[in-house]
Amino acid sequence: MIGNFSVGLSTYLLVGAMLFCIGLYGVFAKRNIIAVLMSIELMLNAVNINFIAFNRFIWNEKIGVNYLLTGHVAALFVIVVAAAEVAVGLALIITIYRNRQSTDVDDLNWLKW
């Protein structure tokens, strides 16, 4: 059986979906804000895997040469935006840490319903 195994679109999508779910789980389960940010990065990278895999496997002559690189470009944009987001996020975590000497999500309870 192992000899027949080939890496196709569905394999990549499966990895992407698993990464996305792990990231989503981490956002809700992790108590440290930095770990939460890392989980968000996992979700965004899952999206990148999806974009690249789709671009590699779906594009053909019929779709048109205009769309040859759409998935790659999308992934690049996601990487850039994620970098900006993390820069702001880390700065905010430093402010939080200065204000209350903790980066625990459970301590973020000053604003309450």
Binding site: G23, I40, N50, V81, V88, L92, L111
Partner: protein, 478 residues
């Protein structure tokens, strides 16, 4: 043919202005700069004037190969964002003066967020839309946490960042699935390819995109962030967040919904989904607003409820429904801005945003009381104010399409909303405010208040010009 730079003038002008404000803030020492707010105000007025001209006489085109739309719908929303930014800047002068440091960057970030919204309104493609969305949201993360010394503000900033980034990751996952299904991220291309059967993947993609955008407009299962962030953020930022970022997400939602979701067999299921979301948004938003004691939290829940009313128009669909949505979005700017201007004034003079600190406001600041009353009554939809006309358009569009139930829920919930809006008015007029300071209104703040109130009353009495603009904008979509 048209020149690409003339079509993009407002965007380019805002980018240049924002970057030069940033440079001014860095280069000129803090004591020596006086003119940043007037500079921002007059430049925004110039861009707003140009955009108004553009709305009536500009060319209508999709360019860059369909990546960016320049139709009356996009320009209408640009007018809305610029007007909101202008009013926020005008009303925040005194507040920003009191900031201990980094005053210059405030306006720069505000304009960056506006630029992001304008890109969202014009985006004809999902990646462009995403980049505009992130430009807006990342600027907002910083603005929400602007009072770095205030632990509540930075807490709100971090909460907004975590939830906002998660929601945009979900939105992106939906976009990647759409891309996988159609091989393109352009809306028109997607619409032509998605018209087949409803597959699990297309359902998942549409639900993810709806969830990502629903977070930005705080539809009910995705609304839990907004009260915390609204309360913790600096009041002018809360105003801008409540008014403009919500309108921007609605602009995207309308475009994506009309072009892609309506064209596939999703419509029946999607219609039901939106129906349920709109109904619980109206019900939960209005009911939880009742026990609130903080004016910013109250306005947060009221804005959740308003998002529900706007969804009614999207459910109704068609030109009349979309016209209702964008008409209401515009008058919502002025009504909410009046209320938030008063909240900013109170935060600036009394350092508080509790409703009980508005006691005796009628004796301490008659003008602000009148403005607050007019704004709240307009939000509640009492004639002859603008909110009544807006709700009339929304609900009658839904009734025309046979969605009587959702319009009925809207009516009942509007009646309930009158209770909590009027309880604020009651505190201002009837409660005794002994020992609380006089709150005089001056300068730009006075102008903002009077202007928003006059617009709210004027549109309520004579809605035709704005309604005509809204119809033209809605027609440009079809």
């Amino acid at each position: 043919m048209f020149n690409i730079t003339t079509v993009l003038t407002p965007e380019i002008a805002l980018a240049v202005l924002s970057l030069s404000l940033l440079a001014i803030g860095l280069l000129i020492p803090a004591g020596a700069r006086k003119g940043m707010m007037p500079l921002t105000v007059f430049s925004l007025m110039g861009v707003l004037g140009y955009t108004l001209y553009d709305f009536f006489y500009g060319p209508e085109a999709a360019f860059l190969g369909g990546l960016y739309m320049h139709d009356q719908f996009a320009v209408y929303f640009k007018i809305l964002f610029l007007a909101a930014a202008l009013l926020v800047v005008l009303s925040s002068g005194g507040y920003v003066q009191k900031l201990p440091k980094h005053r210059g960057e405030f306006y720069s970030l505000l304009l960056m967020a506006t630029l992001g919204m304008m890109l969202m309104a014009g985006a004809g493609e999902l990646i462009t839309m995403y980049v505009g969305l992130e430009l807006m949201t990342i600027s907002f993360y910083i603005l929400v946490a602007y009072l770095a010394e205030d632990a509540r503000s930075s807490e709100a900033g971090v909460k907004y960042l975590i939830l906002g980034a998660t929601s945009s990751a979900i939105l992106l996952y939906g976009i990647s699935l759409i891309y996988g299904l159609t091989g393109s991220t352009e809306l028109l291309e997607i619409a032509s390819k998605l018209s087949g059967n409803l597959t699990p993947a297309s359902l998942l993609a549409t639900v993810f995109i709806l969830a990502g955008l629903g977070f930005k407009i705080s539809l009910v299962p995705f609304h839990l962030w907004s009260p915390d962030i609204y309360e913790g953020a600096p009041t002018p930022v809360t105003a801008f967040l409540a008014i403009a970022s919500k309108a921007a997400a609605f602009a995207v939602l309308i475009r994506v919904y009309l072009l892609t979701m309506n064209s596939q067999t999703f419509s029946a299921t999607g219609q039901t989904l939106l129906f349920v979301l709109a109904a619980i948004t109206m019900i939960v938003g209005n009911l939880i607003a009742i026990p609130q004691t903080n004016i910013k939290r109250l306005l947060a829940f009221s804005s959740i409820a308003q998002a529900g009313y706007l969804m009614v128009g999207i459910i109704a669909g068609g030109i009349s429904g979309i016209k209702g949505v964008i008409f209401y979005a515009m008058i919502y700017v002025f009504a909410n801005m009046g209320a938030f201007a008063v909240a900013t004034l109170v935060a600036e003079k009394q350092g508080s945003s509790e409703i009980k600190d508005l006691a005796g406001f009628w004796h301490r600041s008659p003008l602000a009381t009148v403005v607050m009353t007019a704004s709240l009554l307009s939000l509640a939809g009492i004639p002859p104010l603008a909110g009544f006309v807006g709700k009339f358009y929304l609900f009658s569009a839904a009734m025309d399409q046979g969605n009587v139930a959702i319009a009925y829920i809207g009516f009942v919930m509007s009646m309930i909303s009158v209770y909590y809006y009027l309880s604020v008015v009651k505190v201002m007029f009837l409660a005794e405010g002994d020992g609380l300071p006089e709150v005089p209104v001056h300068g730009a703040m006075k102008f903002t208040m009077v202007f928003t109130m006059l617009i709210t009353i004027a549109i309520g009495l004579y809605p035709t010009p704005l309604a005509k603009m809204a119809i033209a904008a809605a027609q440009s979509l079809f």
